[in-house]
């Protein structure tokens, strides 16, 4: 057992201070969500709830269709994630293993899409989606996002790292590309798929500007839009707003807890070696 050194104590103290300041907004949210309305509006502001007023959650669920918002976001993020995984894997496989004319040019074209901020395309995309009658629909919320260059690069990176001997053995055994793709490349790249999946899900769960533009009916609102409208609605009781926030935060926190290990390292790999 080594004695605890000074730098180590310092590291603990600094980490604790930093962790507390990161946690503070979360704490205020959770504690307010558990307060009565009078408590959450009290001055000086209270840091602890007097008890666990869980009825706030019931009340918020009754006043606002928050479950509907969560469901919408869930459908949209899952559809985008699955679509992204499919398009990314397919394109990545072609770039990693197939020979075809114009490969470099098309790859450069894919690369260039990373340079186009989404906001630049947002006006024409809005007009397109509107002219197709896709406003207020899942199609309008998901289809424009079904492919990302980042996903293609990340998966290509994973494919290129697969043991070459394995691929060659499969070719010698007479496996076609489609078979190798489905039976070898994809199952062996599960870590990459998981990274991309977690990243894509969180990213699209958090989407704000696009859903704000293309949804107008309450039924189609995603969580982010729904939640930011809590404060404009008739109730400005902070405890209820915060209870709503907690309900919205829960799914992403669970997702993070499950996927953090995947994200660390995985994202960096795609970012750098792509």
């Amino acid at each position: 057992m080594k004695p605890i050194s000074l730098p180590r104590i310092l590291a603990y103290v600094l980490s604790t201070v930093a962790a507390l300041s990161i946690l503070f907004p979360f704490w205020i949210t959770v504690s307010n969500a558990l307060m009565t309305e009078a408590e959450s509006a009290a001055y000086p502001p209270k840091l602890w709830p007097s008890g666990l007023h869980l009825d706030n959650f019931a009340q918020v669920l009754n006043t606002i269709p928050i479950l509907r918002f969560i469901m919408n976001s869930f459908v949209v993020s899952s559809a985008i994630t699955i679509g992204c995984l499919i398009t990314s894997c397919m394109a990545a496989y072609a770039f990693a293993f197939l020979r075809f004319p114009g490969k470099r040019i098309i790859f450069a074209l894919f690369l260039s899409t990373m340079m186009i901020p989404w906001e630049v395309a947002i006006i024409p995309n809005y007009l397109t989606i509107r002219s197709w009658g896709w406003l207020d629909s899942y199609a309008g919320l998901t289809i424009p996002f079904l492919a990302t260059a980042f996903g293609v690069f990340l998966m290509r990176q994973f494919f290129l790292q697969l043991p070459k001997e394995l691929m060659e053995a499969a070719r010698i055994d007479g496996c076609g590309h489609i078979r190798i793709f489905l039976r070898l490349a994809i199952p062996l790249s599960m870590p990459g798929l998981a990274t991309l999946g977690v990243y894509s899900f969180l990213n699209h769960w958090n989407m704000y500007l696009w859903p704000l533009l293309v949804t107008s009916s309450e039924n189609m609102r995603t969580v982010q839009i729904g939640v930011s409208m809590l404060q404009f609605s008739e109730m400005t009781a902070w405890n209820l707003v915060m209870a709503g926030l907690v309900l919205v935060l829960l799914p992403s926190l669970v997702m993070l807890a499950l996927g953090l290990g995947r994200l660390v390292g995985g994202l960096t790999a795609g970012a750098l070696k792509g």
């Binding site: 205020i28 072609a94 020979r99 809005y126 079904l146 704000y208 992403s252 994200l263």
Partner: protein
Amino acid sequence: MEKLEKSAPVPLKKKESHNPDTPLPRSAAGGASRTSALARFREGALAAAFIAPALLLFGLFLFYPLIQSVYLSLHSTNPRGQVANFVGLANFRNLFNSPGFPNSLIVTLKFILFTVPASLAFALVFAAVCRAKIRGMKIFRFVFALPIAVSVGTGSIMWMVLFHPTLGTLNYFLGKIGLTPVQWLTDPNMALLSISLMTVWMNVGFLFILLLGGMQGVPEEIYESAKIDGSGPVRTFWRLTLPLVSPTLFFASVTSVIGAFQAFGQINILTKGGPVNSTNVLVFKLYEDAFVNFRFGVGSAQALVLFAIVLLITVLQFVFAERKVHYQ
């Protein structure tokens, strides 16, 4: 067959030698070359099928809009988004002659200055601390990553409570240590700083994960040998960790700057560009012009200026910063 060249030793100098592209050595006789031509055609067709979905989506929702933006920016539009008449560069001229757009540019630049270096510095320190194999670091790792789970929508409302002039805990604490309360979101000198504070908090999660990943890619032996050489933690950080993680840091800075240019949600929710346009960043102005006032032509002109700036910054960062980046 085509993998043969891959396993062959490649001279180190030849950096981008994209092996699968290089043609096969012509060894086969006539009959074999016909089957190989067929095989090549099949492979090409398969590649086309594999690439088509992504390419189609990029075409429809990124490349076509880019061209359409150019077209729209040269026209005036009616509120339904239909082109009314050709106006040439008038939209661009109006942008730079009116006070609104230059103000937005300055606000955006300030916003980048307030958020990017601070976010990177915090994330870097957190990652350096969490890299060390100290007991309990798993908990810190989770906490530092937490903000990635918070979206702009939720994050903005969380901070709205903190920023509340009377009920907010921030002012309460300031009062406790004897300072006067701050009008976080209603003071024109303060609003952008407040938004930045909240944005740094939100950004830290993603950057932390990215940089921690970069640091974990560095082999442990390097750190061990530095330790044996008597290098302290601070010295190790400056001399070893920072240079080794510089490619990731470089990538993180590029994405952060681009991300800052795209800030919208927190401004729409917390300040609506006010007070007196002090938080009216580019994307918020674009949104107002295009989707509140339905001036799609002017909006598209702004989108193109935004695109040009982002492109320029990306290229500049690559030209200047990449030289200083240490690749292993």
